[in-house]
Amino acid sequence: MKKTEATGENTPCKATLYVESPAVMIPPHLKNAVMNREGDVGATTGHAFIGITDKDGKETVYGFHSAAGLPENADITLGTRLKFLLSGKYDGFVGDDSKEPYDDKMVYHISQKQYDKIKAYADEQKKNPPKYQIFSGNCVLFAYKAMKQAGLKLPPQPLFHNPAAAVLGIRVYGKAQKIKQKLGQAAAKILGRFSSTRKISKDILQELKKKPSKQAFGVRAVTESLAKNAAALRKKMAGGR
């Protein structure tokens, strides 16, 4: 489990990102080592959900699912299920995931205000759930969007949001944050040195490629050149006397 440090002055509440590893990320001999995964639908794809704990220690857990997971849809064939999942035609629902298993979690200490923001978002999504779409509207995206309401730094997600990436994200979080920080410093340097309004066109770039490289004339080059010219002029004048 990774735990973040409190950054605010008053952070009596908590927000937790829970992730269940997809089956492919667990060596077969360890499949049931942490918990029994037989018959657990989420064990194949993995799952992500969130919990928010109020100042009295009461946790409310929210998770986004496809309606395909509901008991009344148990008879739908796998082919139809997959087609619906990919096309985004499946209804989604936000449920109470307090009994859901998980392998990794990340705990954030948050303020009351941050707690309220996450709760408001999660409750709204529960009331008006979006369609479930495997790449752009899945459990991880819901969890991330909810946590982002509080401005939390979340584990990196290469490509689309999915449980596998979230699991990896949590496991490499510390290292990835350090690398991201370095990249952020480089970006800040660039934003400080280069214009954010001046545009460079394709034509100009093509023209510049044709031209041979030349030394740019900065202030130093110009002063050096003037000094050289002045010295030559003085020498000439002295010789003429």
Partner: protein
């Protein structure tokens, strides 16, 4: 193209070359100025093709591309870079953030795997 634009673009390329030399000394050491300029312009064109048209936006992409292995464009491991750059759902700021996120994750994962290998060797 006006003389003013041409001069500004030349100054931009010059400053960008200085930036690359100071940020990536190992990669630029064996390149002469002509080769460096041409690679820089190629990378700027890649940035431009994906909607990064201001000096700073272009340099954010250039800086990112220089952090990838030389064969990134044909390496399946780095397909995500082209996919993010071409994404129609993200603006430039989001794309840079996503590229940095992905690179950070890939590098962190590689570090973790290397540490694992070292432990296995022990």
């Amino acid at each position: 193209m006006s003389k003013q634009q041409e001069l500004e673009a030349e100054r931009f390329i010059h400053r960008a070359m200085q930036y690359l030399k100071s940020t990536f000394p190992e990669k630029t050491r064996d390149m002469d100025d002509e080769a460096l300029k041409n690679k820089l312009i190629d990378d700027c064109q890649t940035a431009l093709e994906h909607g990064f048209d201001t000096e700073s936006d272009m340099m954010l992409v250039v800086d990112f591309l220089w952090r990838l292995p030389a064969d990134y464009a044909v390496s399946p491991e780095y397909e995500w870079a082209a996919e993010i750059l071409a994404s129609a759902d993200m603006d430039n700021e989001m794309k840079i953030d996503a590229l940095h996120d992905a690179l950070a994750a890939v590098e962190a994962l590689a570090q973790t795997e290397n540490e694992g290998d070292e432990h296995e060797e022990d």
